[in-house]
C-alpha cells in the first residue's frame, strides 16, 4: 500500500505540472490584461504600460511561466494583482470555507442519494424505483443559481428562517454555521444526489445478483437481513469511492452556489480572479484544487482497498 501511495505521488507531479502549464496558457489566452480590467473606466494607457512592465507581463509567456514555477517550488505563490494580498494567504483563508461547504453538501447528497438508490434497487422496475429516481434527479435538473435565488427569496426574505448569505466557521459557532450552510448545501447536495443514487442503485443491483447474495438467500435468510448485512456493505464500496471523488470535485465546483450565497470560498475567488485576469490567484487556486482532487482520488483508491480485503494482497 505504501508503494501505491508513493507511486501515486510520483505520478501526481507530472500531472500537476501539466495542470499548471495548461492553466497558465489558458489564462494568457484570455483577452485583455489584468490592469486594463482592474483600471476599469479609469484606465490611462501610460499607467497601464508602466504596471505591465513592473509586473513583467510583457515578458515572453515561457519566461513568465518558469519564473512562476521557480517561485512556487520555493513555496512562494506570489500576490494577487488586484488586491496585493499573498496568494498563499488567500488559499489558506478560503480552504476551510470550501471544505466546510463541501462536507455539508456531501452529507445532503448522501442523505438523499443513498436511501433513494437502495430503495430503487430493491424495488427495481416498480413505481417506487421511478419515484426515487425522480426525487434524486430533480435536484440535478434545476440550475444551481436559480434554485439558490428562489431559496433565498423564500427562506431568507419571506419566511426569515435562514440567513441569506455568509460564512460562519463550524467550530466557532456550530449553530450559526449550520444555519448558513443549510441552503447552499441543499442546492449543491441535491445536485450530487442523483449521481450517488445512480451508483448506489447499480451497485446494489449487481450485488443482489451475485452468487454470494443468492447463497445467502438460499440459506433462507430474511430478505431485510440479506439487504442490510450482505448486499449493502458490498454495494457501498463503489459509492464511497464516488463520494470521495465528488468531494474532490466540489472543492472548486461550487462556483455559482458560492456566488449566489456570497460564500467566500474557492469558487467565488477563482471566478472573480478569472474575470479580473488575476493570473497568480487563478494559478494558485487551480493548483490547490487539483492537488485536492488528486488527493481525493488517492484516498478513494485506498478506501477501496481497505474495505475490499480481497484486493489487499495486490
Amino acid at each position: 500500500m505504501l508503494k501505491l501511495i508513493l507511486n501515486r505521488v510520483l505520478i501526481a507531479i507530472p500531472t500537476l505540472l501539466i495542470v499548471s502549464l495548461f492553466v497558465f496558457a489558458l489564462q494568457h489566452a484570455l483577452p485583455g490584461d489584468p490592469f486594463l480590467v482592474m483600471a476599469g473606466e479609469e484606465r490611462d494607457p501610460e499607467s497601464i504600460a508602466r504596471l505591465r512592465a513592473i509586473y513583467r507581463l510583457d515578458d515572453p509567456i515561457v519566461v513568465q511561466y518558469f519564473a512562476w514555477l521557480g517561485q512556487v517550488v520555493q513555496g512562494e505563490f506570489g500576490r494577487s494583482l488586484r488586491t496585493g494580498e499573498p496568494v498563499l494567504g488567500l488559499i489558506l483563508q478560503k480552504l476551510p470555507v470550501t471544505l466546510q461547504l463541501a462536507a455539508a453538501s456531501m452529507i445532503v447528497a448522501l442523505g438523499i442519494g443513498l436511501p433513494a438508490g437502495i430503495i430503487a434497487a430493491v424495488r427495481k422496475g416498480t413505481s417506487v424505483d421511478y419515484a426515487a429516481s425522480a426525487v434524486a434527479l430533480s435536484g440535478l435538473s434545476i440550475p444551481n443559481f436559480w434554485l439558490g435565488i428562489v431559496m433565498i427569496l423564500v427562506f431568507a426574505v419571506e419566511l426569515r428562517w435562514l440567513p441569506a448569505s455568509g460564512y460562519v466557521p463550524f467550530f466557532s459557532d456550530p449553530i450559526g454555521a449550520i444555519e448558513t450552510l443549510i441552503m447552499p448545501a441543499f442546492v449543491l447536495g441535491t445536485g450530487l444526489a442523483a449521481f450517488i443514487m445512480r451508483h448506489t442503485r447499480s451497485a446494489m443491483l449487481e450485488v443482489l445478483r451475485s452468487d454470494y447474495v443468492r447463497t445467502a438467500r438460499a440459506k433462507g435468510l430474511d430478505e431485510s437481513v440479506v439487504i442490510n448485512k450482505h448486499a449493502l456493505r458490498n454495494a457501498l464500496i463503489p459509492v464511497i469511492t464516488l463520494s470521495t471523488i465528488l468531494f474532490g470535485e466540489l472543492l472548486a465546483g461550487a462556483v455559482l452556489t458560492e456566488q449566489v450565497f456570497t460564500i467566500p470560498g474557492f469558487g467565488k475567488l477563482i471566478v472573480d480572479a478569472v474575470f479580473n485576469r488575476d493570473y497568480g490567484v487563478v494559478q494558485g487556486v487551480v493548483l490547490c484544487t487539483a492537488i485536492g482532487f488528486i488527493l481525493m482520488n488517492l484516498v478513494a483508491d485506498l478506501l477501496y482497498i481497505l474495505v475490499n480485503p480481497r484486493l489487499r494482497g495486490r
Partner: protein, 508 residues
C-alpha cells in the same frame, strides 16, 4: 456504513434542520455595527494604487483627504482648512487641520502631507501620477502649511486632491504592506479583510470629527448579484446597499421596512463611437457627422428610461451632470424624430440599411438596453447587430479599435475636465474612437488653466456646442445612484459622487 448508521445520520440531519428552523435568526448583529452591501469587491486599499469605484466607497470611511466636494460640486475643507493660489496661479498654498492623528497614533502635519503627495506622484505603481502630473514640487512652509508648486496653471488640481490623490497615509507605514493594511486618518480604521467577502473597519476614537460618527464598526460586504444583494438587505443581513437595480426600485419602495434613496450621478452612460481608430471606423458613421446625428435622432431616450429603467434614469445629451456648475440647462433632450433621421441619412448619401455593430457588456441590463436601441434605430435605416462581450474583452477591443459603437459609461468626476478631456481631445487617454478636432483640443486644454468658474464655463459651453453637432460620444442618460437602507437607518447624505459618507448615519 450500514443501514442503522445511515438512518441515524439522516435523523441527525432532520434534527439539525428542526433545531435551526426553531431558532430565531438574523437578529444577531450588534446595534452599533453598520453592514453595507457593495456591488463589487474593492481592489487594493492603497489610495495611491487603487483603481475601482467601490474602493473609493471604502476609502470614504478609511482615509480622509485634503478636500471634499459639496453636493453642488464646490470644494469644501477636510484635512485642508484654507487654500489659495498665488497671483500667477503656479503655487497653491494649503493650510492643514491641526490635531489630526493617523490610526497608528502619529500626527498628521505638513511633512506627512508632502511625503504623501511625493509618494502619489513618484511611486512606480502609483495610478495617481497622471492626476498630479502638473506638480513640480511640494514645499513645507510651516508645520501646518504646504505650498504646491506647479509646472503650469492647473484648475483641476484641487479636485484631484478631493479624491484619492489627496488621501493621507501614515508615512511611517510606507515601507510596509500599505494595500493590505492601510493606515490613514479617516473616521474608521482598518481591522480585517476577507477578499471577495468583507472589509471590516472599527471606529477611530481619535478622529477629529469622531462625534459625528455613531457606528462602532463598519462591515462592507461584496455581493455582486443585485437580486441577492437586495435579498440580503430584506432578510436583515445588511443595513444598507449601494446600486439598487432600477427594476427593483418599485418593490423596494413598497417594502415598508426599507427606504430607497437616490440622486443623479456625476457621470453619464452612453456610447463610445469609433471615428478613426482602425478599419472599422471606415464607415459613413465614423466619417460623417450627419449619420451620427441621424442615429441620435432615431433614439427615443425617454422610452429607454421607461422600458429599461422604470423611469428612474433621466435622459441626457451632455457629459456634465445636473449638479455640476458646468451643466448646460439649454441642452434639452430632443424628442425622437425618425423622419429627420431618415432625411439626414439620405442627405449623407447613405443607402439604408446601414450595417453597424454595437458592442455591449454581457449583463442583462446592457443586453436589454442594446436591444431597445437596436429596435429603435432599425426604423430609421440602421441595421445594428449586437456583440456581447465580457467587460475585459470589451475594453481591449475598444482600445484596439475593434468596434464601431461600444456601450460604456463614465462614473464622473467632480471637475468638468474629468468628464470630457480624456474622451474628446485627440490625445485623450480614453479617446478610444480617436475623435479629433483641433478647436475642441484647444478649448479643453485652455480650460484647464482658467481658475475662474464663470470664465471656465464659457470655454466648456463652446466645446459642448461643437460636440452637439459632431457627436464625439453619444450620450444617453444620467446614471443615478440608488441606495436602499433599512428603515431604521437615518441620516444618509446623498451625493452625486455615489460615495457612502458615514458621518451622520444613525440607527434608530
Amino acid at each position: 456504513m450500514t443501514r442503522p448508521k445511515l438512518t441515524s445520520t439522516m435523523a441527525a440531519c432532520a434534527l439539525a434542520l428542526g433545531v435551526v428552523v426553531a431558532l430565531p435568526t438574523g437578529a444577531a448583529a450588534q446595534t452599533s455595527t453598520l453592514r453595507i452591501g457593495l456591488q463589487e469587491d474593492p481592489d487594493m486599499l492603497d489610495p495611491h494604487r487603487a483603481r475601482t469605484f467601490v474602493g473609493r466607497i471604502v476609502f470614504k470611511g478609511l482615509c480622509d483627504k485634503l478636500f471634499d466636494a459639496s453636493p453642488d460640486l464646490q470644494l469644501v475643507p477636510r484635512l485642508a482648512t484654507e487654500w489659495s493660489f498665488s497671483a500667477d496661479g503656479l503655487t497653491a498654498t494649503i493650510k492643514l487641520r491641526a490635531g489630526v492623528k493617523f490610526h497608528d497614533g502619529t500626527a498628521f502635519d505638513a511633512t506627512a502631507a508632502k511625503a504623501n503627495l511625493e509618494r502619489a506622484r513618484t511611486l512606480p505603481e502609483s495610478l495617481r501620477r497622471s492626476e498630479l502630473a502638473t506638480i513640480d514640487g511640494v514645499d513645507v512652509v510651516d508645520p501646518l502649511t504646504i505650498a504646491i508648486k506647479l509646472k503650469q496653471r492647473d484648475a483641476t488640481l484641487l479636485s484631484q486632491l478631493a479624491d484619492r490623490a489627496g488621501m493621507m497615509l501614515s508615512p511611517a507605514t510606507f515601507g510596509g504592506d500599505v494595500g493590505a493594511r492601510p493606515v490613514c486618518t479617516g473616521p474608521y480604521r482598518f481591522v480585517e479583510r476577507v477578499q471577495n467577502d468583507r472589509i471590516v473597519l472599527d471606529k477611530f476614537a481619535d478622529h477629529w470629527e469622531a462625534a459625528n460618527y455613531s457606528f462602532d464598526r463598519i462591515i462592507y460586504r461584496s455581493i455582486p448579484d443585485t437580486t441577492v444583494r437586495l435579498a440580503n438587505l430584506r432578510s436583515g443581513e445588511l443595513d444598507m446597499l449601494e446600486r439598487l437595480a432600477a427594476t427593483d426600485v418599485k418593490s423596494a419602495q413598497a417594502d415598508r421596512s426599507l427606504r430607497v434613496l437616490f440622486t443623479p450621478g456625476l457621470g453619464y452612460q452612453g456610447m463610445t463611437l469609433n471615428h478613426a481608430n482602425g478599419d472599422l471606423a471606415n464607415t459613413p458613421f465614423g466619417k460623417d457627422k450627419r449619420v451620427r446625428q441621424a442615429f441620435s435622432w432615431a433614439i427615443d431616450r425617454a422610452v429607454i428610461n421607461q422600458v429599461v429603467f422604470e423611469n428612474t434614469h433621466p435622459p441626457t445629451v451632455q457629459a456634465f451632470p445636473p449638479s455640476s456648475p458646468y451643466y448646460r440647462k439649454d441642452l434639452v433632450v430632443p424628442p425622437r424624430d425618425v423622419a429627420k433621421a431618415r432625411a439626414l441619412l439620405r442627405e449623407a448619401g447613405v443607402t439604408a440599411p446601414l450595417k453597424l455593430e454595437m458592442m455591449i457588456t454581457n449583463n442583462p441590463v446592457d443586453a436589454q438596453l442594446g436591444q431597445v436601441v437596436q429596435a429603435m434605430v432599425q426604423e430609421a435605416g440602421f441595421d445594428v447587430s449586437l456583440r456581447s462581450m465580457e467587460f475585459a474583452s470589451q475594453l481591449r477591443d475598444q482600445q484596439q479599435g475593434k468596434f464601431q459603437l461600444s456601450r460604456v459609461g463614465w462614473s464622473g468626476r467632480i471637475d468638468p475636465d474629468g468628464n470630457i478631456h480624456p474622451f474628446w481631445t485627440s490625445r485623450g487617454g480614453q479617446n478610444d474612437g480617436k475623435y479629433s478636432n483641433p478647436t475642441i483640443d484647444k478649448l479643453l486644454t485652455d480650460a484647464r488653466a482658467v481658475y475662474d468658474q464663470a470664465e471656465r464655463k464659457k470655454l466648456y459651453d463652446e466645446a459642448q456646442t461643437i460636440a452637439q453637432d459632431e457627436i464625439p460620444v453619444l450620450y444617453l442618460y444620467n446614471q443615478p445612484w440608488f441606495y436602499a437602507t433599512s428603515a431604521r437607518i437615518s441620516g444618509f447624505q446623498l451625493h452625486p459622487d455615489g460615495m457612502i459618507r458615514l458621518g451622520g448615519l444613525k440607527r434608530q
